[in-house]
C-alpha cells in the first residue's frame, strides 16, 4: 500500500532543501494565504498514473527563483520557471517511492504552469480532495497528488 498522503510532502521537502535551501515548517494559524497564485502541474504514466499540482504565491516563487539561480532580480517568467522546475524535481523524487522496483519506467510530461485568471484561487484549490497545505518558511503552499486508475 502506497502512502500517497506523505510521499508528495516528503519529495517536495527534499526538492526545496536541495534546490532552494528552503524548509517546510509547522503550520501557523496567522499565516496569510497567497492572493495571486501560480499553479504548476506535471503528470506521469507508468506502473502508476497521476498528476502532481503545486499552488504557490508569486512571492514564494520569487524567492525560489532567487535561491535556485543565485539571482538578485527576477522577472515573473523566471518565477514561473522556478515553480515548474520545483514540480519537475519533486516528481522525479516521488516516482521511485511509487515504483515497485528501480527498473520501473515512467513517462513524465513537461511541467506546465497556470497564472493569473487561469490559476485556481487558494480557497477553491484547498477545498479539493487530497489537497495539503504546507508552510514554507512563512509562505503557504498547497499541493495535490491525484492518482488515476
Amino acid at each position: 500500500m502506497i502512502k500517497t498522503d506523505t510521499i508528495l510532502t516528503d519529495s517536495l521537502a527534499q526538492a526545496l532543501e536541495t534546490m532552494a535551501f528552503l524548509t517546510i515548517m509547522p503550520l501557523e494559524e496567522d499565516t496569510a494565504a497567497p492572493e495571486k497564485t501560480v499553479l504548476a502541474e506535471i503528470s506521469f504514466a507508468g506502473p502508476n498514473n497521476g498528476t502532481i499540482q503545486i499552488l504557490a504565491g508569486l512571492d514564494l516563487c520569487r524567492i525560489l527563483a532567487e535561491n535556485i539561480g543565485a539571482l538578485t532580480e527576477v522577472n515573473d517568467e523566471t518565477c514561473y520557471d522556478a515553480l515548474k522546475e520545483l514540480s519537475n524535481v519533486t516528481c522525479g523524487l516521488l516516482l521511485p517511492m511509487l515504483a515497485s522496483s528501480g527498473g520501473d519506467v515512467f513517462d513524465v510530461t513537461v511541467p506546465a504552469v497556470k497564472t493569473g485568471d487561469d490559476s485556481p484561487g487558494w480557497d477553491e484549490f484547498v477545498e479539493q480532495p487530497n489537497s495539503c497545505i504546507l508552510n514554507i518558511e512563512g509562505f503557504l503552499v498547497a499541493t495535490r497528488l491525484i492518482m488515476k486508475e
Binding site: M19, I68, G103
Partner: protein, 125 residues
C-alpha cells in the same frame, strides 16, 4: 585547451544554476552556450566547437534522447561527450541512456560537488 560547454535545458533557471556552478569550479572554460531544447542544441553544435554537452531529457520540441541520437549519427558531433542531467530515476532508462551514447548521468536535484565530479570525470581532468 579551454572547454566550450553547451547546457541544454528548457528551464532558464536550471541553465543559470549549472552555469554558476561551472563558473565556480575553477576549470579552464572558454565559452558556455545555452539551448532550450534538443533542436536548438543541434543548431549550436553545427555552428560552434563544443567540447562537452550537459543536457536534460524531458524538453519540448526535442528531448535529450532524440538529441543524443542525432549527435551520434553525425560525424562532426558523434564523439562529443554528453552528460544527461535529469530527474529520471529508472535504472532501466539510465542504463539505456548510457548504452546509447550518454557518457554520464547526473540526477536532479544536484549539488555543486556532484556537478564538479561528473564534469571532471567526463572530461578527464
Amino acid at each position: 585547451m579551454a572547454l566550450n560547454i553547451l547546457i541544454v535545458d528548457d528551464s532558464s533557471l536550471t541553465r543559470k544554476a549549472i552555469k554558476r556552478i561551472i563558473d565556480m569550479l575553477g576549470l579552464d572554460v572558454g565559452q558556455i552556450f545555452e539551448a532550450e531544447n534538443g533542436m536548438e542544441a543541434l543548431k549550436v553544435l553545427a555552428e560552434t566547437n563544443i567540447n562537452l554537452v550537459l543536457a536534460d531529457l524531458n524538453m519540448p520540441e526535442m528531448g535529450g534522447v532524440e538529441m543524443i541520437y542525432h549527435m551520434r549519427g553525425n560525424e562532426a558531433t558523434k564523439d562529443i561527450p554528453v552528460v544527461v542531467v535529469s530527474t529520471e530515476s529508472s535504472t532501466t532508462r539510465i542504463e539505456g541512456l548510457l548504452a546509447n551514447g550518454a557518457k554520464a548521468y547526473l540526477h536532479k536535484p544536484f549539488t555543486p560537488e556532484e556537478v564538479k565530479e561528473v564534469i571532471t570525470q567526463t572530461i578527464g581532468v
